[in-house]
């Protein structure tokens, strides 16, 4: 019965007990020490009851249990108190001569073994538990990372395997070579339990097998006193407890190992990800300094080409022939065009680098704003605007504005030759996104070249026909891609064109909050 009570309970510090709600962390000192005294008192009571009903020899495991409980729940100080009290009680109630603090010669080794065992138990349980301010082992275990697990072997704990072997040997010697009666099976159980925290599955198994062998051996070697069935029962229960503890310990170890394996895999992936992110950041920085350098260094010589050509024209215009003047004019126009190209390219690269500040954007309002501006610029033309009501989307307002401006100004530009231009803006509702379109009745394009439409500096018309650098649609595509959408176009030569872009739907209160 004593063993039965012991085995599973000793397991408890690993799982069950930790969830009980004594909550020592916040417990005040008197409560913690009181708990320690109570534990020992309960152990004394139970042990006396066992002796009264003929089961004998229960005091040792019960005191162990009291010490473990005190060390686990109340911390180092109370566990020392528990050790002292247990030793005293053991001496008084159970060591010959009983009901006296004297210790007989025969009982002295037994008494010393008990004291040593009590101290070791308190020490290791305390170490296992960690500082009392920690939360329960369960959460600590959950939170422990692979780096922390080997750290458990630091300090005193490194010597635990050696200590367990020495202790098991000493118990065996005390149990067989002296006429003492030590609860070896129980002690072994505790030994295995402690080994379970700090040893590998193989080491635990070895310790368990060794303990098992010693148990069986000592059962045959120990002179049997009292009713034979009590000894057999004790041993049998001890064996079962040991087996159970070993099984659980190995299982736990394996689970820990696989957890560690997973953790290390995750860590490896994380490292990889971090490396990628750093690489990306580096290349992004390089790109930025490249753009900066283009912005600053390319413009200066261009300005000089333009400036000195102008000066030359002014200085020598009268003495130059028509052809030379045309050459100078070409230099001037080319430098201006290059200036525009550089500016466009820089603006385009800025879109890729700028951070998107996503809010809820009313496309309806945005389009109306842009159209109102365009109406001013196109007052001389006959343009019929057909604007359907548009939804609210999630995106960067200034970037989406750029999309609308680009698409609408394209539509205005490519309908220039129409007596009456028609530009329609509407949208199609899809499951998770909305697809907005801009349709015109302008010059259109050959669907054969649709793939080239959105490329940087790609143009499907001659500069004489329609001005522009060919960056507008590339900008549109880049912005929409950054919003997680897609762009596409449909058209036919001289039959107008329709440009579509999709945006994720805006829904959810969380997104709504962001707009505030």
């Amino acid at each position: 019965m004593t063993h039965l009570a012991e085995g599973p309970t000793r397991l408890a510090p690993r799982r069950g007990l930790a969830r009980l709600s004594l909550d020592p962390e916040r417990g005040r000192l008197p409560i913690r020490y009181g708990f320690s005294v109570a534990c020992v008192a309960v152990a004394v009571g139970a042990a006396l009851a066992c002796r009264r009903y003929g089961f004998g020899d229960a005091e040792l495991p019960l005191f162990d249990l009291a010490i473990v409980a005190a060390a686990w729940y109340a911390g180092i100080g109370p566990s020392v108190l528990a050790v002292a009290l247990s030793t005293a009680c053991f001496d008084y109630f159970f060591a010959e001569p009983i009901y006296s603090f004297e210790v007989s010669r025969e009982e002295l080794p037994n008494f010393l073994v008990f004291t040593a065992f009590a101290a070791i138990t308190a020490l290791f349980v305390g170490a296992l538990r960690g500082p009392i301010s920690n939360s329960s082992l369960w959460t600590r275990h959950q939170a422990s990372s692979p780096e922390q697990a080997p750290a458990g072997r630091h300090g005193l704990l490194r010597f635990l395997p050696i200590a367990t072997v020495l202790f098991a040997g000493a118990t065996f010697v005390a149990d067989t070579a002296t006429p003492l009666d030590i609860e070896f099976a129980t002690l072994y159980t505790v030994v295995i339990l402690m080994a379970a925290r700090f040893c590998s599955p193989r080491e635990i198994t070895l310790v368990a097998v060794g303990c098992l062998a010693l148990t069986i051996l000592s059962f045959y070697l120990t002179p049997q006193g009292g009713p034979a069935f009590v000894g057999i029962l004790n041993t049998a229960i001890g064996l079962i407890a040991m087996g159970l503890v070993t099984l659980l310990a190995v299982q736990q170890k394996n689970a820990e190992a696989s957890l560690r394996e997973h953790s290390s895999e995750i860590r490896k992936l994380n490292e990889e990800l971090g490396k990628r992110a750093r690489e990306l950041e580096t290349s992004n920085n390089e790109l930025e300094s490249f753009a900066y350098s283009v912005s600053h260094d390319l413009r200066a010589p261009l300005r000089h080409v333009d400036g000195y050509s102008e000066l030359l024209k002014k200085q020598a215009s009268s003495s130059l022939d028509e052809k030379s003047r045309r050459y100078i004019q070409t230099i001037l126009e080319s430098s201006k065009r290059m200036g525009t190209l550089i500016d466009d390219l820089l603006a385009f690269s800025r879109i890729g680098r700028a951070e998107t500040k996503k809010t809820l954007v009313s496309l309806d309002q945005l389009v109306k704003e842009v159209v109102a501006e365009m109406r001013e610029d196109t007052s001389g033309r006959d343009i019929v605007w057909k604007i359907d009501p548009l939804p609210v989307c999630c995106g960067d307002r200034s970037m989406l504005r750029l999309v609308i401006v680009n698409l609408l100004s394209n539509a205005v530009k490519f309908t220039r030759m129409r007596a009456q231009a028609e530009i329609e803006i509407g949208y199609v509702d899809r499951e998770n996104e909305v697809e907005v379109f801009v349709r015109d009745n302008g010059a259109g394009f050959d669907m054969q070249y649709v793939n080239k439409l959105f490329g940087v500096f790609q143009r499907l018309h001659l500069p004489e026909q329609f001005a522009g650098t060919g960056i507008g649609l590339a900008t549109v595509r880049r912005i929409i891609h950054r919003h997680g959408g897609e762009v596409r176009a449909e058209g036919g030569v001289d039959r107008g064109a329709t440009f579509y872009f999709s945006l994720p739907r805006a829904r959810g209160a969380a997104e709504r909050k962001n707009t505030q």
């Binding site: 912005s295 600053h296 260094d297 413009r299 200066a300 300005r303 000089h304 400036g307 820089l346």
Partner: protein, 151 residues
Amino acid sequence: MSELGRILIVEDDPRDEELTLLALEEYNLANEVVVARDGEKALNYLYCRGEFSSRSNGNPAVLLLDLKLPKVDGLEVLQQIRSDERLKMIPVVVLTSSREEKDLIRSYNLGVNAYVVKPVDFHEFVNAIKELGVFWAVINQPPPGSMKKAP
């Protein structure tokens, strides 16, 4: 035209310098112009040291500052000016090729008075320089202690 303030141009590129001076000459603003070819020389001028140790005291009415300069760059010059009790009131105009947001933010954070991107187009460039010159050297009332000359 009232008094003419002294303009300190900090510009490393001789061509840009020539074009700038041409633009100022066109409006008779070039007489009171001093050119420093890098940030160090600009600071030497402001502190009357080195080759400028014998110049008459007084701060320029405006400083036209390029950002990308050898040795001490424009932002460092600006920072030095703003952190010095004697110089911090000098109006500083950044005149650069860069329209990068980064440069704009850093310049304004350091307390620049204006930020002008040099236009690539010559006519626009001349126009910009002229307007800058007229505004800062003629129209604007510079802080006390600035060098001025009756026209």
